[in-house]
C-alpha cells in the first residue's frame, strides 16, 4: 500500500493564521498511524497567493487533497479517508 503523504504548510501566512497550532500533527500522526502516513512541515505551498486567499489559511495537503482552514480534526479525518481508499 502506498503511504499517505501529509504536508503541513508552515509558510508565514499559514503559520500566523493557525498552522502554528498544527505542528502537533508532526508528532501526533506518526504515533497514531506508524509507517502508513508520512507527515512533515512544508515551506509555503503557494496556496494562499492564489487570489490572495489568505483568509482560508492554514492549508494542509493530504496526498492531493487540499484542506482549507485546516484543523487537527479535519486533517485526521482526511487521513482516515485516504487510508480507506
Amino acid at each position: 500500500m502506498a503511504k499517505v503523504n501529509v504536508k503541513v504548510c508552515l509558510g508565514t501566512t499559514c503559520f500566523v493564521m493557525g498552522s502554528s497550532n498544527l505542528q502537533e500533527l508532526i508528532e501526533l500522526v506518526p504515533k497514531k498511524y506508524g509507517d502508513d502516513v508520512e507527515v512533515a512541515g512544508s515551506p509555503c505551498l503557494g496556496l494562499c497567493s492564489i487570489d490572495w486567499e489568505f483568509s482560508k489559511a492554514p492549508y494542509v495537503k493530504v496526498n492531493n487533497e487540499v484542506i482549507k482552514e485546516a484543523t487537527v480534526e479535519k486533517v485526521l479525518a482526511a487521513i482516515d479517508k485516504e487510508l480507506k481508499n
Binding site: 508552515l10 509558510g11 508565514t12 501566512t13 503559520f15 500566523v16 493564521m17 493557525g18 502554528s20 497550532n21 498544527l22 505542528q23 502537533e24 512541515g41 515551506p43 509555503c44 494562499c48 497567493s49 489568505f54 483568509s55 489559511a57 482552514e69 484543523t71
Partner: protein, 488 residues
C-alpha cells in the same frame, strides 16, 4: 496563543481583519476598502458560520474593524461610516489610553454567574447540600434541591458535597478569568470593564469564547509614521524569538522589509535589568530585608499600583528591559520613533507612561502585517543584531528566567531562593498580599512575578503554540553567550 489553548476561530478573525486593514492602508483606496471589509468577509449569499444572520456577522466584523483601527467601540456612533473612521485614524495624534474595548454586539448573553442545580439531582435522603450550606440557601422541595438566589453567596460548597455531582457553578468566562474583578455585567446585563481596577493582563481577551474583548490597535499609527519617512525603530521583546518559523537573524530582515529602519533586541535592556536587580537584591539582603519581588512584568506593576500598594517597598526599583532598551535607542537616535513589539496587552500601559516608547505592536499584529505584505520570513536573508545580548537576558520570556538571570550574577552563599509566580490568578494575588502584610515570604526571598502562565511566551497576543515557542526560544538561548561575558 496562550499556554495550552487550542487554535481559536476568534484569533483567526482578528488577524484576518488586521491584515485587510493593512492591505487597505497600503493600497490606493484606503477609506473605501476599509468600509468594505465586513462585506468582503461575508459577501452576499455567503455562509453564516457563527451568528444568527449575515447582518449580525457583518455588524460584529464592523466592530472588530473599529477596534483594529484603534478606536473605542463603545464610544463610536453606530451611524458612523467605517470609511470615516479610517480617515479619523490617520488624523489622530495620540493613541487611546486604555488598550481594551468591548464589543457589545459580539458579547453573548452569558447567563449570570451562579450556582445551578441540574436535572441530575436525585433529591436524596442524606441531603449533604442542605447541611453544607451556611446561608440556608438550598432546600429540597418536591424531590429536588432548589436554590434561593437571594441568599446564595455562590461559595460552591453544595456543589462540592453533592454525591451525584448534580450541582454546578455557571461561570461567565471573562469574569472568571479576571484576577482583579475588573470586568463584570452591570445590572442591565451589559459587560463593562472598570478601568480603575483593570491591570491590562489580557486574560479576558483570551478567555472570551466570543472574542468580545478587543485590543485597540496602534497599527495604523505605526504604519503612518513609516509611510511619512520617519526613522522608525523596532524593539523586540525576547518572547518574539519563539513566534515565527524563522531564525532571529531572518526575522530582523523580515521586519526591515516592513519599513523599519533598525531592529534591536529588548534583551539588550534585560542585561541591564539583570545587573541592576542582582545588585539591588544583594544590597537589600545585606540590609536584612525579608524578600524582593521582580519588577519587569507590566501587568504585575499595574497590579501593585492599583491593588497591592503595600508591596511597593518590597518590589525592586530596577526598571524593565523595555525601559532600558528604549532609553538607549532614543539616546542614540533622538529623532526616531520607537515601537515596542509585545507579547501582551499590558505593555501598552507601560509604554503610555514612558516617553521613550512611542508605540506598541503586538505579535499578532506583526503576523498580520507579514500576511498583508506576503513576507516569507523563512526565505529572508540573515542579518546579525548590532548589539549582542546574553543567554540569560534572552530567557526572560520563559517563566523562571528572570530569577535565574539574577542568580547567575550572585555569588555562592548569596544566591537567591526563588519563588516563581507562574501566572497571576486570584490565589497568587492573595499570597502576594499576605507576603506584603506579614513582611515575610516563607517560599523564597526573590519572588519572580509573571502575569501569564509560562511567562511572556504565554502572553495573550502571541502566535506560536507554547511548546514549540519554548523549544525555538530555548534553541536561541543555548547558542547565546553567558551574561558575565556580555557585561564585561
Amino acid at each position: 496563543m496562550s499556554i495550552n489553548t487550542p487554535a481559536k476561530q476568534t484569533s483567526h478573525l482578528k488577524r484576518e481583519i488586521l491584515a485587510r486593514i493593512i492591505r487597505a492602508y497600503l493600497g490606493d483606496n484606503y477609506e473605501e476598502d476599509v468600509r468594505l471589509i465586513p462585506y468582503k468577509m461575508r459577501p452576499q449569499g455567503s455562509d453564516v458560520p457563527f451568528r444568527c444572520c449575515i447582518h449580525k456577522e457583518r455588524a460584529i466584523l464592523r466592530d472588530r474593524v473599529i477596534a483594529s483601527l484603534g478606536f473605542d467601540i463603545e464610544e463610536t456612533q453606530d451611524s458612523e461610516l467605517l470609511s470615516n473612521l479610517a480617515k479619523k485614524a490617520l488624523d489622530r495624534k495620540q493613541p487611546e489610553e486604555h488598550p481594551l474595548t468591548l464589543l457589545q454586539t459580539a458579547c453573548n448573553e452569558c447567563v449570570p454567574a451562579r450556582i445551578h442545580v441540574t436535572d441530575l439531582c436525585q433529591g436524596c435522603v442524606a441531603r449533604p447540600c442542605e447541611s453544607a450550606c451556611r446561608f440556608g440557601a438550598i432546600k429540597v422541595e418536591n424531590g429536588k434541591s432548589r436554590i434561593d438566589h437571594t441568599k446564595c453567596k455562590s461559595c460552591g460548597l453544595c456543589a462540592q458535597v453533592c454525591p451525584f455531582q448534580a450541582i454546578t457553578k455557571i461561570i461567565v468566562p471573562c469574569e472568571n478569568a479576571c484576577p482583579v474583578g475588573a470586568i463584570a455585567k452591570d445590572e442591565d446585563g451589559i459587560t463593562r470593564i472598570d478601568h480603575d481596577k483593570c491591570i491590562s493582563c489580557g486574560k479576558c481577551v483570551s478567555a472570551c469564547p466570543f472574542g468580545a474583548v478587543h485590543k485597540k490597535s496602534q497599527i495604523i499609527d505605526i504604519i503612518k509614521n513609516i509611510k511619512s519617512g520617519k526613522k522608525v525603530i523596532a524593539m523586540l521583546a525576547p518572547a518574539i524569538m519563539g513566534q515565527l518559523p524563522c531564525t532571529p537573524e531572518q526575522l530582523k530582515t523580515a521586519i526591515k522589509k516592513l519599513g523599519f529602519n533598525d531592529v534591536v533586541e529588548v534583551a539588550l535592556g534585560a542585561d541591564i535589568t539583570t545587573k541592576n536587580e542582582a545588585e539591588e537584591f544583594r544590597e537589600r539582603m545585606e540590609n536584612g530585608k525579608p524578600f524582593m519581588t521582580t519588577s519587569c512584568c507590566a501587568a504585575y506593576n499595574e497590579l501593585v499600583e492599583k491593588h497591592i500598594p503595600e508591596i511597593k517597598p518590597y518590589r525592586s526599583e530596577t526598571k524593565t528591559p523595555a525601559y532600558y532598551t528604549a532609553e538607549i535607542v532614543k539616546k542614540e537616535n533622538p529623532e526616531s520613533v520607537t515601537v515596542f513589539f509585545s507579547p501582551c496587552v499590558a505593555k501598552r500601559r507601560e509604554a503610555m507612561q514612558n516617553p521613550n516608547i512611542d508605540f506598541v505592536l503586538n505579535f499578532e499584529e506583526l503576523g498580520a502585517w507579514f500576511v498583508a505584505l506576503n513576507v516569507q520570513v523563512s526565505e529572508c536573508e540573515k542579518e546579525d543584531f548590532a548589539k549582542e545580548s546574553s543567554a540569560q537576558a534572552r530567557k526572560f520570556a520563559i517563566t523562571g528566567g528572570v530569577a535565574e538571570a539574577v542568580n547567575s550574577l550572585l555569588d555562592e552563599g548569596e544566591k537567591a531562593k526563588a519563588h516563581v509566580v507562574n501566572g497571576l490568578d486570584k490565589a497568587a494575588i492573595r499570597d502576594l498580599k499576605k507576603f506584603a502584610k506579614n513582611g515575610k515570604c516563607e517560599l523564597g526571598n526573590l519572588i519572580e512575578v509573571m502575569a501569564c502562565p509560562g511567562g511572556c511566551l504565554g502572553g495573550s497576543n502571541t502566535i506560536n503554540a507554547y511548546k514549540q515557542a519554548n523549544k525555538q526560544l530555548t534553541g536561541y538561548v543555548e547558542q547565546s553567550k553567558d551574561i558575565k561575558e556580555i557585561l564585561k
